[in-house]
Symmetry: D5
Subunit: 146 residues, 10 copies
Amino acid sequence: MNKLDVTEMIMERKRATGMTWAEISHAIGLSDVFTTSACLGMNSLPRDKADLLVTTLGLPQEAAVVLAEYPTKVFSQAVPTDPLIYRFYEIIGVYGQTLKELIQEKGGDGIMSAIDFDMSVEKVPYEKGDRIEIRMSGKFLPYNRW
Amino acid sequence: MNKLDVTEMIMERKRATGMTWAEISHAIGLSDVFTTSACLGMNSLPRDKADLLVTTLGLPQEAAVVLAEYPTKVFSQAVPTDPLIYRFYEIIGVYGQTLKELIQEKGGDGIMSAIDFDMSVEKVPYEKGDRIEIRMSGKFLPYNRW
Amino acid sequence: MNKLDVTEMIMERKRATGMTWAEISHAIGLSDVFTTSACLGMNSLPRDKADLLVTTLGLPQEAAVVLAEYPTKVFSQAVPTDPLIYRFYEIIGVYGQTLKELIQEKGGDGIMSAIDFDMSVEKVPYEKGDRIEIRMSGKFLPYNRW
Amino acid sequence: MNKLDVTEMIMERKRATGMTWAEISHAIGLSDVFTTSACLGMNSLPRDKADLLVTTLGLPQEAAVVLAEYPTKVFSQAVPTDPLIYRFYEIIGVYGQTLKELIQEKGGDGIMSAIDFDMSVEKVPYEKGDRIEIRMSGKFLPYNRW
Amino acid sequence: MNKLDVTEMIMERKRATGMTWAEISHAIGLSDVFTTSACLGMNSLPRDKADLLVTTLGLPQEAAVVLAEYPTKVFSQAVPTDPLIYRFYEIIGVYGQTLKELIQEKGGDGIMSAIDFDMSVEKVPYEKGDRIEIRMSGKFLPYNRW
Amino acid sequence: MNKLDVTEMIMERKRATGMTWAEISHAIGLSDVFTTSACLGMNSLPRDKADLLVTTLGLPQEAAVVLAEYPTKVFSQAVPTDPLIYRFYEIIGVYGQTLKELIQEKGGDGIMSAIDFDMSVEKVPYEKGDRIEIRMSGKFLPYNRW
Amino acid sequence: MNKLDVTEMIMERKRATGMTWAEISHAIGLSDVFTTSACLGMNSLPRDKADLLVTTLGLPQEAAVVLAEYPTKVFSQAVPTDPLIYRFYEIIGVYGQTLKELIQEKGGDGIMSAIDFDMSVEKVPYEKGDRIEIRMSGKFLPYNRW
Amino acid sequence: MNKLDVTEMIMERKRATGMTWAEISHAIGLSDVFTTSACLGMNSLPRDKADLLVTTLGLPQEAAVVLAEYPTKVFSQAVPTDPLIYRFYEIIGVYGQTLKELIQEKGGDGIMSAIDFDMSVEKVPYEKGDRIEIRMSGKFLPYNRW
Amino acid sequence: MNKLDVTEMIMERKRATGMTWAEISHAIGLSDVFTTSACLGMNSLPRDKADLLVTTLGLPQEAAVVLAEYPTKVFSQAVPTDPLIYRFYEIIGVYGQTLKELIQEKGGDGIMSAIDFDMSVEKVPYEKGDRIEIRMSGKFLPYNRW
Amino acid sequence: MNKLDVTEMIMERKRATGMTWAEISHAIGLSDVFTTSACLGMNSLPRDKADLLVTTLGLPQEAAVVLAEYPTKVFSQAVPTDPLIYRFYEIIGVYGQTLKELIQEKGGDGIMSAIDFDMSVEKVPYEKGDRIEIRMSGKFLPYNRW
């Protein structure tokens, strides 16, 4: 049993039970973004959360061991083709240098961590049409000089 | 004179005057993200804002015409190498499918627009170290079925 | 059962029954382009249409659930090799910058949506030989400035 | 003097005179799509049309020779990055196999020519927002069997 | 049963019977080049020829249906590695621009069709060693101007 | 002065004198295909032919030295984009394996040389429309076994 | 049964019997380089040698048919990653242009054949450490001019 | 002045004086392969040899400094296109795994060094046509286990 | 049974027994880096160490044969995507030219061997947070000049 | 004046003065690795160190401003070709997964920072030949779970 097997089991249980990611993540007491990423095999769960997930969705016990393992993160498409994901890729392409200018203006020579990092996603109603709002937060890491 | 020439002029004037992106954008009444992206040749300014920018930085008048033109957005690195920009690319690679699951759970089959879109960048102090906070907001566009 | 399984079932039933895409799409009351794309796993059907399709072609009931799921659109060939599809790729390569000039001359800085979008395909007889006529229609989206 | 030089001259004259592609193409009696593509170096003009263009925009006479030469069509980005152009690339990726199914259902084993081909672009007002409408027409070419 | 299955069956029957491509194509009354390409899944046979092929090689009847279907032509190696095939790729690389100059000198702005196309291959004895002679013939298609 | 410089000089003299490739190659007593390829920098001319070419077109004497040098053949586009050249690339993609089957059926395990090689291009009138006819001839080289 | 199956069988038999490539090739009376390449599916054996190999290693009789078939040579890694193989790739990268200069200085405009070709590999003891010695020999092929 | 400038100077002097690589390398007392590679910027000369080369060809004194510098070896074509160089690339593709089998059979787990390495190139007359003979010799390096 | 099979067996046994790489490598008397790389199929073990490993983990005896075979090292991602591995790739990208300058300043024209090579990895506690310390050691190999 | 200009100036002054990287870095009181990387445009110097460098090497004062700017780190070769740099790339390819296993065994799910990072390079004499020793140290960053 590996991460891919567990993801398939989760998707089947999710379809069968009709549970949403919101409900699943609420049940284990973690955010929806992190929970979903772990279910998709892109993050590891602490063992107690993995046990909770297994109970919540009725997965075999071995799945908890696998969910707690540290994944090798492989994204096979260097340029994603799904329109929803591509739009984010495009935003990085168009605004990447802008982000660099502004983050380094605010913090000096350094980067935003993608490891000490969290993110949220909301849908917010507006008169002119609903909007998706993404919030990312990562620790500022200054370059070491030695 | 093209977008690239104007960007170089802006960078030289910025260095010479010591103005920050925050000050430049404040002077023309637009956000720092949008203003920076336009100065880097990735967006077009409304003509009146372009005139203001030209006055603010002491650029030649022709630069305003160029700043108001619609750019062809070219990002030559399919996979960016600068560490600051790469981290965002990595976030899309790691969390892209998660974003798809959650946005479509909240809104149905559709995407977040990268055109009817805005973004902000802040540095926020925390006890355990400063954090960079990114906020993105894009209109939710449902897929048409016909 | 996933999108790929359902596409294979549809192609088998289509061959066995001799139904055309025109007939299939007529039976469920949607256009032939959209119906075909959904059968090929590139779009999702509303649940009632998915049920109709299942009845029309004699597919198992679970297929309707799958047809209504939101697909991750993956096109594995960055440059398509099939001659029919390549010709469209070539048209975008040759006329892409022309489309940009003309759409932005007519509408300002913005794009044509590929999401709020529809398309039709017809074969039209002419004296000098039949022609294929494609009509695409997408909402004009102006770039946001903030 | 080559195609690239002539395109740059045309863009400069277009900016200086304020003429639109609609006006330029009207002046030489060809469609806006074809005229623009020839001005961008992606098609050749008949010599008399090239002479007309030179007169219309006040270009040097040698430019007419160059405009009438047969271009080598090079598109350097296998996957275009400008959002407007990318959307068309995406449409081919998402609907390419659909186009193949429907064109071959209507005409048998064959393709739509990209050479004996014409195209138009319009902006059409709608209540829910303006739409861009593209019409492509290409000769149907059946595969030879010998 | 798909094109790939049928190709494998044909190769097995060909090995078992010892028939050559020359004999197979003679038996169904088509050229060896076209027949071979259809057997390899790169072209479709008219149904009556497909029936003849099935009889000739003793294939199951369903194979005739598959042979008559219109293939999606996929060539997975952008640059072929087999030495025999690479030499042709190299010829196009070395002489491609030469072909363009000469075809357009003879016919004006246009191309040679790869659809309304036929080809033959012969081995011809010469004193200094046998030679392979390839003859390609494709309809000249002038670019449309509109 | 290098191959590229000489090609540019030849193209300028060709445009100025109105000579065709047919006339140029006739003047130096070589085929149009080989002459054109040498003028485009893809082959070397024997020194006496180079001298003749220099006289024919009124090039500087040093050009003859350069034309006689052995070129490094570089084709920068792994997949050509010009439609005329792409069609030949497509033919190799579609018929490459077919060529392999037939050449090896006729000659055993071996290849057609692209070095001991010649080619001709003709435009031939037909009732249904002119055709381009390509003839390639290369020495058959059997694989050595040792 | 295909080339890949036969290679796997050979590797298993080789491991089981403890025979070396030197012994296997000696048994069939061909060089170790050619024999190994044929066993790895990159060359075809004459039928009598294939029969000898089958007897030597105790393979099923059908394997001789497969070993005598002409392989399609596919090398899936454009840039090899195994260090031993990469070093040769690197040598070609570093010394390729040097080889071109020297071979063409010695023989005129032409190439070394990779088809009428043989190679040997030896390990030779030296005081400062053993060396690997590769000897390649290929027919010089002058470019045809016509 | 950099390596590229010096290579161009050498090629010009070589053309002007008519000296061959054989003569140049003889004059400085190094092999033709190594001397040529250093002149092409792919290796560094000991300073005394660089001085000799400068004297031999009549180059400016600064060239000796540059010739003695350690080059960064860049080969821009991952897959070379020149036919002479490609044939060697093809040989590595076809025989790479064979070389691995045989070198490791003779020496154990290890590689042939491309650094402690030398090579020679000869043209050898044969009745059936001249042959090019390449000899490579590299130190055998066993993998360290620790 | 091949290297991949053995790696999977090892990972399963490792999970089942709870042994760490530190314990496994200690048991066979080799470093943790080398032992892990051999278990992952990237290096070969001496036969006696392979036997020890088989005993330690309770693997089938045949696994020892496989562990002692010389692997073909294939890394399928030219640019790794896992964040931990990517950071090392990034370090080579950012500091590669620096390493070249300093190694060659210290040793002359040459390289650090990746074959006569060893490496260690430690986690070291620091007040400001634990650090990972990597130590690499490779033999300096001077370029041969001949 | 940009980073590239300054690097070229530094290399010229370095060659003219004969100073080593060791001497230059000693003069400004930073390590040789960091100093070299900043001189090559891959890191930024604190302004006081930049002033010291300018004085040390006799550069124009403006160079100090440029040296203190934050570079966009671009490495154009995804796979480096210089043998010295490639060997490090190869080490990451061969040992990347091993590094992942061991770092995460020691520290849990996390990475080694390439930003809060330092490195040293030494040449160390050994009986069997000098060795290059690299030491890297980076902060361990655990993945955030939220």
